[in-house]
Amino acid sequence: MKKTAIIIFVSILFAGCSDKLVRVMPYEKEYFAQDKMNLSPIELRGEQEGHIFLIREASAGGESSFQGGCGCR
């Protein structure tokens, strides 16, 4: 009985420690809030990338009607 109690007590204590070590607390998320930490940074330059993709592939009429799909732009 005593042994079980000690095991439970120690495991709860360790669980508390691991939570503090692993979890980034809300007030520590300053660097996570930066733009460069965005999960999809490509999204920010998506328009530019799309334009380059369409020119390179030359498979469609570009992103808008006035752009040609000749691959020459």
């Binding site: 009985m1 439970i8 809300p26 007030y27 998320k29 300053e30 809030a33």
Partner: protein, 166 residues
Amino acid sequence: MKKMILILMMSLSLVASLKKGDKEVEFKLPGLYNSSTVVDSQSLKGKVVLLNMWASWCSGCQHEMPLFVKLQKSYNKKDFEIVLVNIDTHKENGIDFLESVDPDKVLTALYDQTKYLPKTYKVPGMPTSLLIDKDGTIVDVYIGSFDEESIKKLQKEIELLTKSSK
């Protein structure tokens, strides 16, 4: 079995965090604009206080700040005071943002470089605001940012607290 329950409860109390009815944590923090001005929690006793922990990088904090300015303007600071505790690593970021929304410096702004208050209160989210009564007891805990609706509810609570003699 009784011993086990006791041990379990004691262990849980070790990880307990912020709750209503607790006494506020004593602090002494410098001003955000002027570090030579130090504000002591003792000096806030006798008035209703909304203690807001915020940072310039937190979008929710940015959202609620204009609401706070409006709210503070509708009260005398002797009765109700909004105390902002900034936890930015570089306080210039906090100053730049706050000056843009509160050019008249209506809000009391403090700087907590070591993040002492959020660490002590173990805040579960940013921003977190605590409504503290004249006695220094935490009356309500608000996790996340306020909007037009919730600020009206808060205002009602402030009305009650400022009128009570306690």
